[in-house]
Symmetry: C4
């Protein structure tokens, strides 16, 4: 086994992931189009133009929280590891790949959140993020030597259950938009709130 | 209490925050439109075009100092902590969210600093930055176990007073622009200067 | 000799390289043009517009894997070193320079992968990345004091052979596109797969 | 004295500076306009379009080397320090401010390197980078407690001489373009080469 999985220090994975996530979370702001406003524009026109930025702004806020949730969980996940191996590097890059796509559906959602095609696209990318995260966790779970000793199997199971239900919910959100976009949006916001709110389960997972 | 607040090492919060702030401070430059200048343009036309970049440049300079001030204070704030908990992660993300918006009002101010709507927008975002910073500091103040032992309560109080007055000033700046934009601009520049100039209070706060 | 090569700690090279690579890998997404879709667009038009993003997306995916491969190898390469010297800093910057160009041929390939001019450009930039990496490895190989003691010369030779054949393949890919672009594309994908798949050779190299 | 200058660990200055410099060096590539090339374009038209990217590319290469030189020197400079103080933070931000402007004159130089207005702008920004670096070095020189003990005063003097002559040369380059742009370009390339080539003086400075 030692032949297949060579320990790799976690620091550079952390640094690289933090870099990529920091860029994703910040650069989504660049995709919000800033209107060039005429010098002689009336106050009314200005507020109208600024009002046009509200929808992209809300989409940005939603994705900021989503990426924030992913970052906090990534953070917590890596803290549970002793070290990495080459396969984990690629699992991590797989997750970062899907995360790097988030700005695109965010932009579409900001353009028009009432199109089911766009909620489907958003749901799909978020699903792939959760799914690749689940794959990475699964891989680590079946390679116990990567874990820090003093972690109880219950906690691992709990985190797994939580991640799996999130993944399933995102999968559902791809299709619900075609019934009503508000179901999909409710799922997105719901997941953000669940992760954001520190529940008892959350706290136990932390210990 | 130990059940609710699980210590988290500060290093990755620092790394992530530094990444986000570095991107914000640098990428504002991308929002300055660089004119494409005709090969046969006269010197006069060129200087005129470059002159058109002066106002966005000054707005960039102002925001660079503002973000710089926030970074220096963030730096100093984290050095006072022993470790973080999950709630602090979210307080920090909250601050970073508002900081990530700074490029937008900076762009508007660079377009036309004489519109009270734009100084109001700038003041509002800066106010939310200061306010979210104050919330984070407040949270830490009421959770003493996060602090390094040897910090005197006076110093904490002084930092709090300074932050609160700044927050109040930014709040005022949202409205003063409708009387005269120069009052708002004076507040922005004034706050930058106050934080920039090492006063006696500042020095004591550092000790 | 000690006069010419002064040891430099590796940490800041790692941090800087990670920063640059993180930005390259993430920002390629910004070069994918996001269409502004009319509010009254039919579903058909929307899927058509999204379909137009598939080709740039595949080019992005290819380059993401390429940069990922380079990052994993860079990571592994630096772990074999004891410390750096001034010349290694410049070798590293040379590599980063060519890597920073990757977004440009990626964009062209995403526009139209059937033009041999674009596969040639892509192959050329990838060739220069591999070549500058080979130069850096060569430099280190001829300055044994930079290496960690316990590295067997066989392993170094194996890594060198692998890198040289990759470099040669990229060189060939510049020209094959003029016969058929699919040969060049097969080379690009082939190299990605070779590095991605953990072969026996790979594993031994890791030990 | 201890009252005025409170030691600050160097690690976060390094991390933040590396982040900012990594973004500057990488994002200049985003300012090179990538033409959208028609599907039915002839090979001739494609090469013509690619040829139009050569001048921006050379400007990018020049600035990449310039920023690389600044990074290597910044790296070396910080290694000579024991710790930082609040004033050094601001000196460092001052340097980063001017460095963050480099993409703008680089873009103009890439548009048309034969306009003396653009070489003047380029020279001015590079001059301010060198000047702010000199100010930071000067500040440290007059606050010996920031230095690592075992640094000989000769070496400090040599580094100072080198930096001062570079600063003076950049200053001259602002004006020489109005005689001939080639003098200014020669100065830019010359300085890059001087720093790039490891001379004897360089080596001694390193020891």
């Amino acid at each position: 086994m030692a032949k297949k999985h060579i320990p790799i220090p976690l620091t550079r994975i952390e640094a690289f992931s933090d870099g990529v996530i920091a860029i994703i979370i910040t650069l989504m702001i660049l995709l919000i189009k800033i209107p060039t406003i005429d010098k002689n524009a009336t106050t009314e026109i200005i507020w109208q133009q600024l009002y046009g930025m509200v929808q992209p702004f809300i989409a940005y806020l939603l994705s900021f929280v989503m990426v924030g949730v992913l970052w906090v969980n990534h953070h917590q996940f890596l803290r549970q590891l002793k070290n990495a191996d080459r396969k984990l590097l690629w699992h991590n890059l797989h997750l970062l790949f899907w995360m790097s796509l988030i700005p695109i559906p965010t932009n579409f959602l900001g353009q028009n959140f009432q199109r089911p095609e766009f909620t489907a696209l958003y749901g799909f990318v978020m699903f792939m993020c959760a799914f690749s995260f689940a794959l990475m966790r699964e891989y680590v779970n079946s390679n116990h030597y990567l874990f820090i000793e003093n972690l109880s199997p219950e906690l691992r199971k709990k985190a797994r259950v939580k991640l799996r239900s999130t993944t399933a919910l995102y999968f559902v959100s791809i299709f619900t938009g075609f019934i009503s976009v508000y179901i999909s949006l409710a799922i997105f916001i719901g997941i953000a709130v669940i992760y954001f709110m520190p529940t008892n389960i959350e706290v136990k997972e932390d210990e």
